[in-house]
Symmetry: C2
Subunit: 128 residues, 2 copies
C-alpha cells in the first residue's frame, strides 16, 4: 500500500539523526508511527512531512516544549486550528524581531570590520 521508510531513510530525508527521531517520538511530538513485523519503525509519507515541519519549527528556535504543545493540538484535530495559528503567529513576530536585532548587530559588526580595515591600512602605510 504505502511505501514505508526505515529510520535511516527518515534520517536522510529530514537531517535528524536516528537518535533524535526516537527522542522526538519519546517526548510526544511524533505519535502513531507504525512498526513492521520486526518491531522496527516504519514511517509513512505523512510522517515525513510532519517531521520536516518540526525541523522548520526547530530551526526557528522554537523550544521542544512548545513544539510538543503544538503537536498535542494537532492530535486533537481541526478544532484546534485557531489556537495553532495563534501560536505560529506569535513565533512569527518573535522571529521577525529577532531578525531585526540580528540585522542591527550585523551592522555594528560591519562597522567594526571597517574600522579594523582602516587600522590594517595604517599599519601597512606605517611600515613603508
Amino acid at each position: 500500500m504505502e511505501n514505508l521508510l526505515t529510520i535511516q531513510e527518515m534520517s536522510r530525508l529530514t537531517g535528524l539523526s536516528a537518535h533524535t527521531l526516537r527522542y522526538y517520538e519519546k517526548v510526544g511530538m511524533l505519535e502513531g508511527v507504525s512498526r513492521n513485523e520486526q518491531g522496527y519503525r516504519a514511517y509513512s509519507e505523512a510522517d515525513v512531512s510532519w517531521v520536516q515541519f518540526l525541523v522548520i519549527l526547530r530551526e526557528l528556535d522554537i523550544p521542544i516544549r512548545e513544539m510538543k504543545r503544538y503537536s498535542d493540538l494537532r492530535s486533537q484535530g481541526p478544532s484546534t486550528v485557531h489556537e495553532r495559528r495563534l501560536m505560529l503567529e506569535a513565533h512569527q513576530s518573535r522571529v521577525q524581531q529577532q531578525m531585526r536585532k540580528l540585522g542591527d548587530n550585523l551592522g555594528k559588526i560591519a562597522d567594526k570590520i571597517q574600522y579594523y580595515k582602516g587600522m590594517e591600512e595604517e599599519v601597512e602605510a606605517g611600515i613603508k
Copy 2:
C-alpha cells in the same frame, strides 16, 4: 579621575546580571577590571564599551569559547587586528546565512498561517 561603576550599574548598562558579569570575567573575557578599597569591582567606561560589545557578539550566537578567543587576541594588541577582522567576517557571513534560513522558514510558516486562516473561514461558513 575616572568615574567608576559598581557591578549593579554595569549590570543595568549592559543587561547582564551581576552573576553573568563575574562569570564572563572568570572565563577570561574581561581582564584588568579594577577594584575599590573594599575589594569591590569598579568598572571603567572602557569596560562598559567592551562588555556592550561582548553582548552584541553573544546576541549573534557566538559561543563563549569564540568570544574568549577574540578577547585574547584583543589583549595581545594591534598586531592581532587582522585575525580579529577575519573572525568577525566569518561570523558575519554565518549570521547572514542564518538570517536567510530564518527568512525561508518564516515564509513557510506564513504559508501555514494562511492555510489555517482558510480552514477557519471554511468552518465558519460551514456553521452558517
